[in-house]
C-alpha cells in the first residue's frame, strides 16, 4: 500500500510547456499528488489547481467529452500517444495504471502539420482540411430514405462501421515514426468508399484527400503499424492498402475535370 493508505501516489511529471506557437518550448518538472480513483485528466486538473493557487500559468491540454468519443483529448505519455494502455483515449486512462513514485513525460503530438498552440494543445485543422478536400457525396438529404431502397452488403457495412470508429484525435500521426496521417485519411476514405452511397465520387475523393494529406506535410506510410496499435477507435491498418488500391485505380482512371467541363 502506498504512502497515505488511500491509494495515494506522488508522481513526477516532466511536461512540455510552450507559451504559444513562436515560443521554443521546454520541459518543466512538476510533483503532483494523486490517487488511483482519478482519471489521468483529473490528475492534471489537480496539478492545475496547484499551479493556479501558486499564481502560475495552468497547463493547457485539450479535452471535451471525457468519455472517449469526441476525439478532442490526446497527448503523449512516456512515448505512447494516449498513454501506456493503448487503444483508448487519454480521457479514459485511469491513475490505477500508475504507481507511487512514477516519473512521466508528457509531450504534445509532434508533427509539422500539427503546430503547437500552447503546452500540450496542437492545431489539428489539417485533418479538417483533408475532410473538406474530400468534398460532397451525392446522397439525397431531407426525409429519411426508405430503409431497403439502397441495399448494403453486411460485410461492407461492417467495414464501413469499423472505419467510421475514427474520432479524428490524431494519435495515429503522433504514433507514426513518419508522422503520417494515412490511417486517418484511409479510415475516412474507406467508410465512404465501401458503401453504395460513396461510389459516385469514390475515385476523385481518394485522390483529392490523399493529395491534401501530402500537401499538409504529413509523412508517408511504411506499414509499421504503430498507428493501429494506439488508435482509440481500433481502426485496422487494413484501411491503408484499401486506400492505396483506390488511389492507384483513381490515378489510372483520372480525367481532367476542367477538360470535360470545357466540352470542346
Amino acid at each position: 500500500m502506498s504512502a497515505n493508505g488511500h491509494g495515494g501516489m506522488k508522481l513526477t511529471l516532466d511536461i512540455w510547456r510552450q507559451k504559444n506557437a513562436s515560443d521554443p518550448g521546454r520541459f518543466v518538472r512538476y510533483q503532483v499528488a494523486a490517487n488511483e480513483h482519478m482519471s489521468f485528466l483529473e490528475m492534471l486538473d489537480v496539478l492545475n489547481q496547484d499551479l493556479i493557487t501558486k499564481g502560475e500559468e495552468p497547463l493547457a491540454f485539450d479535452s471535451d467529452c471525457r468519455e472517449g468519443i469526441c476525439g478532442m483529448c490526446g497527448f503523449v505519455i512516456n512515448g505512447s500517444p494516449h498513454g501506456p494502455t493503448h487503444g483508448a483515449t487519454v480521457c479514459q486512462l485511469h491513475m490505477r495504471f500508475f504507481k507511487d513514485g512514477d516519473s512521466l513525460t508528457l509531450e504534445p503530438w509532434r508533427a509539422k502539420a500539427f503546430p503547437i498552440l500552447k503546452d500540450l494543445v496542437v492545431n489539428r485543422a489539417a485533418l479538417d482540411r483533408i475532410i473538406q478536400a474530400g468534398g460532397y457525396i451525392s446522397t439525397r438529404t431531407g426525409s429519411a430514405p426508405e430503409a431497403n431502397s439502397i441495399l448494403v452488403p453486411k460485410e461492407s457495412s461492417d467495414i464501413a462501421m469499423e472505419a467510421a470508429a475514427c474520432i479524428g484525435c490524431g494519435a495515429c500521426v503522433a504514433a507514426c515514426p513518419n508522422a503520417s496521417a494515412h490511417l486517418f485519411t484511409s479510415a475516412k476514405i474507406t467508410h465512404l468508399g465501401v458503401l453504395p452511397q460513396g461510389q459516385p465520387e469514390r475515385y476523385t475523393r481518394v485522390l483529392d484527400m490523399m493529395n491534401q494529406t501530402t500537401a499538409e506535410g504529413f509523412g508517408h506510410c511504411t506499414l509499421m503499424g504503430e498507428c493501429e496499435a494506439v488508435c482509440p477507435g481500433h481502426v485496422s491498418l487494413e484501411v491503408i492498402p484499401r486506400m492505396n488500391a483506390d488511389f492507384f485505380k483513381g490515378s489510372l482512371k483520372k480525367r481532367d475535370p476542367k477538360a470535360v467541363a470545357g466540352g470542346a
Binding site: 502539420a113 503520417s180 490523399m210 494529406t213 509523412g219 504503430e226 487494413e238 491503408i240 492505396n244
Partner: protein, 233 residues
C-alpha cells in the same frame, strides 16, 4: 493535327504521372513496382549462382550464355538500373520528407509493434546501394577485385575474390542488410499495391520472412562454400 481547347486544357498543369510521383502514395506504389523487379532479379541471380554447386564449367557456361546476346544483356541492365534508380530516389525523397514531417522529435518514443527491419529500411537500402556499386566493380568490371580478374571466368573470380577476408565480410554484411530489407519490404510491397486482406496478412508476413531468410542464407552460402573449400578451382 489541330490543337483543340480541350487539348490545351489537358496539357496545362502537371501530368498524371508527375502528380502520381508527387504524392507519397504514388511514390510508394512505384517503390513497390520497382521492388518487384529488383526482388525477381535477386531471386533469379541467386538461383543462377546456385549452379556453382553443380560444377564450375556449368556456371562459367551460364555466364557466357548471358553475354551471348548483348541486346538482351543491356536491356536487362537498363531495366534494373531504372528500377533501382526509381526505387532509391523515391525512398530517399520519402525519407527526407518524413524527417521534415516531424521537426521536433519526441524525448522518448515507444515502439509498440514496428519491427527493427521496418524501422531501418533507409539504412539497409543505402547499404544495398553501396554494395551494388562495389559488387559491379568487383565481379562485372573487375577493377575492385581482390586478386586477378579474368573476364567471364565467373567461378574463378568468385574463388579468388572470396579467398580474401575483406570481400567476404562486405558481402556477408550486405546480404544481411538485404535480408532485413526484404523481410519488411516484401510484406510492405503488397500493402503499397493495395493487395491486402486481413485473412492473408499473417501469411504474407511469414512468406516475406521466409523469402528474406532464404535469400540472405542462399547468398551467404557462396563465400562460405569458397572459404570451407567446398568449392575450389
Amino acid at each position: 493535327m489541330s490543337v483543340t481547347t480541350k487539348d490545351a486544357v489537358i496539357a496545362s498543369g502537371p501530368s498524371r504521372l508527375s502528380l502520381f510521383w508527387m504524392s507519397t502514395v504514388g511514390k510508394k506504389v512505384l517503390m513497390a513496382l520497382s521492388g518487384i523487379i529488383l526482388f525477381a532479379y535477386v531471386v533469379a541471380h541467386m538461383l543462377g549462382n546456385m549452379q556453382l554447386y553443380l560444377g564450375i564449367e556449368l556456371i562459367n557456361g551460364y555466364a557466357r550464355l548471358l553475354h551471348l546476346n548483348q541486346g538482351f544483356l543491356w536491356s536487362a541492365r537498363i531495366v534494373l538500373l531504372v528500377a533501382v534508380g526509381v526505387h532509391a530516389i523515391a525512398g530517399i525523397e520519402l525519407w527526407i520528407n518524413k524527417r521534415e514531417a516531424r521537426p521536433i522529435p519526441y524525448r522518448s518514443k515507444e515502439n509498440i509493434q514496428a519491427t527493427t527491419a521496418s524501422r531501418t529500411m533507409i539504412l539497409t537500402g543505402v547499404i544495398i546501394a553501396a554494395f551494388i556499386v562495389y559488387h559491379v566493380l568487383d565481379l562485372t568490371v573487375g577493377v575492385a577485385h581482390a586478386g586477378p580478374y579474368v573476364h567471364l571466368e565467373a567461378a574463378g573470380n568468385l574463388i579468388t575474390g572470396f579467398s580474401h577476408p575483406l570481400p567476404v565480410v562486405l558481402y556477408i554484411v550486405a546480404m544481411i542488410a538485404l535480408g532485413f530489407h526484404l523481410w519488411h519490404g516484401v510484406y510492405s510491397m503488397f500493402g503499397s499495391l493495395g493487395l491486402s486482406h486481413p485473412r492473408y496478412t499473417v501469411g504474407v508476413k511469414r512468406l516475406a520472412a521466409l523469402a528474406a531468410t532464404l535469400i540472405a542464407l542462399g547468398n551467404i552460402s557462396f563465400p562460405v562454400a569458397v572459404l570451407t573449400g567446398l568449392v575450389h578451382g
